[in-house]
């Protein structure tokens, strides 16, 4: 029966190396998109909490729209619209059109989607920080940025970590959607390997195991980070 493990060998007659390459691409995408999403999320959360009325409304529209439309549709829209917009911009300032790398476009897409979710997670976490702590930082004469870096961000971290780790899991799984736009990450590579060897079951199971390993490994790391961030806080069950 079809479980012939030789085709998973790392060197070229086997497809193992290709799969690992796809996994690496997936992880790059997930990490890049996640970080971009975090940056958007910090900005968005502060905008939603302290911004003016127009900024608040705009951010509300952004998070609502992004969370209501399927990721697959958003990825298609942003993938084409994003690359198109950059090329139009280059055309406008007189530069020749460029071929945007799939990785950059993919990171942008995942980042925009993740940004909406992390905005909400971080907003909740910042609101959970006792306001007296932030006020104390301001009373010490710290600038808003110093207060953010020294007090607000570290103090909100324990509240944000469960939500943020969830988002990381979603990011690793959302990268699979970029297979639909033809980016060679783990799922698409698996499909190609399976299609050319006809060993569908073997390859899809192997890819599943790789994704599962990423999840389990991430869980361990997140456990460490959470314990570090919660040090000195009362234990809650």
């Amino acid at each position: 029966m079809p479980f012939n493990l030789d085709i998973l060998a790392l060197s070229p007659p086997g497809w193992g190396g290709v799969l690992l390459g796809g996994l690496l691409a997936s992880l790059e995408l997930a990490a890049g998109g996640y970080l971009l999403g975090l940056v958007i999320g910090v900005g968005g959360a502060f905008g939603k909490l302290y911004g003016g009325p127009i900024l608040r409304d705009l951010l509300e529209i952004y998070t609502t729209l992004t969370r209501a439309v399927p990721e697959l549709v958003l990825i298609l829209l942003l993938y084409y619209a994003g690359t198109d917009a950059v090329n139009q911009l280059f055309l406008l300032i007189g530069l020749p059109a460029v071929d945007i790398s799939g990785l950059a476009a993919g990171i942008f897409v995942i980042g925009v989607v993740q940004g909406a979710y992390s905005t909400e997670v971080l907003r909740g976490a910042i609101k959970a920080v006792p306001s007296g702590q932030i006020e104390a930082a301001c009373a010490y004469g710290m600038s808003p940025f110093q207060a953010l870096r020294r007090v607000t961000l570290p103090a909100m971290l324990p509240y944000a970590i469960p939500g943020l780790s969830n988002l990381w899991m979603i990011a690793t799984k959302d990268t699979a959607l970029l297979a639909v736009v033809g980016f060679s990450e783990l799922t698409l590579v698996t499909r190609q390997a399976a299609g050319s060897t006809k060993a569908y079951m073997t390859f899809y199971l192997a890819a599943g195991v790789l994704y599962l390993l990423v999840t389990l490994f991430s869980n361990i790391i997140i456990g460490f980070i959470e314990r570090h961030a919660r040090r000195g806080m009362p234990r809650t069950v």
């Binding site: 009325p53 829209l77 699979a176």
Partner: protein
Amino acid sequence: MSEETSILPIYIPPKARSLLEPHRLFLAAVFLMIVLCAAWLLRWDWLPKYGPRLVYGVWQTLVMLFWTSVIGFLLALPIGLVQVTGPRPLAWLAKGFCTIIRGTPLLLQLWLLYYGLGSLFAQYPEIRSSFLWPYLRQAWPYGFTALMLSFAAYEGEVMRGAFAGVPRGELEAARAFGMSRWTVFRRIWLPRAIHRALPTLAGETVLQLKSTPLVATITVVDVYAVISKVRQDTFLTYEPLLLLALIYLCLTGALVGGFHLLERRIPTRGA
């Protein structure tokens, strides 16, 4: 430590606002302009031709969403329950199932079932000659199974928490009234758990709606597949996708509103 020293109002909770504030009117005008520009400048002449097919696609999406959620939820009940009270091996089995389904992308599960299992089935003459084969040759059973299992795993995790969160005292009181274990489950434990899980159920169902377009990648016809067909036929990039986003937006809004109504009908004491 006097209370009056806090001068800096760091976080001002937003006041309840109405839609008719000046800046909102301005924003609404801007968005109306954008929508009008989109309607005026983009091509929409394909819409009448594909209208009936779009309606059919939306219907298929909704049917898929409804049945996968209902059956997935029924599967989630035992999955959640055995993790709280079941025998060890069953609990481990349920936990493993949840971990595997939640740890891998749905797209991969879908392709595993359709391409992997589908090609495996085709190799056995016994299956090919069985009465199930006319169904197994189509794509939708695989899409349906993948979506159903995914919902069962995510909701099973929610139900585990909900079952575990029902106060012990209520169950003990029911036992003290002389109810059998099954009666306690049917009258107290299950209704209370579902009640606790209801708020998250709305979120899970929206997530499920957002997963349904994935089945179009294995040739099941839903609204996403219809839009893909439009894109292939007309060579338009944005117009069909924008319409698709709008359709999903409306569906999500209707779903959230529906669950809101449902939650309001169920009496709660306090908060």
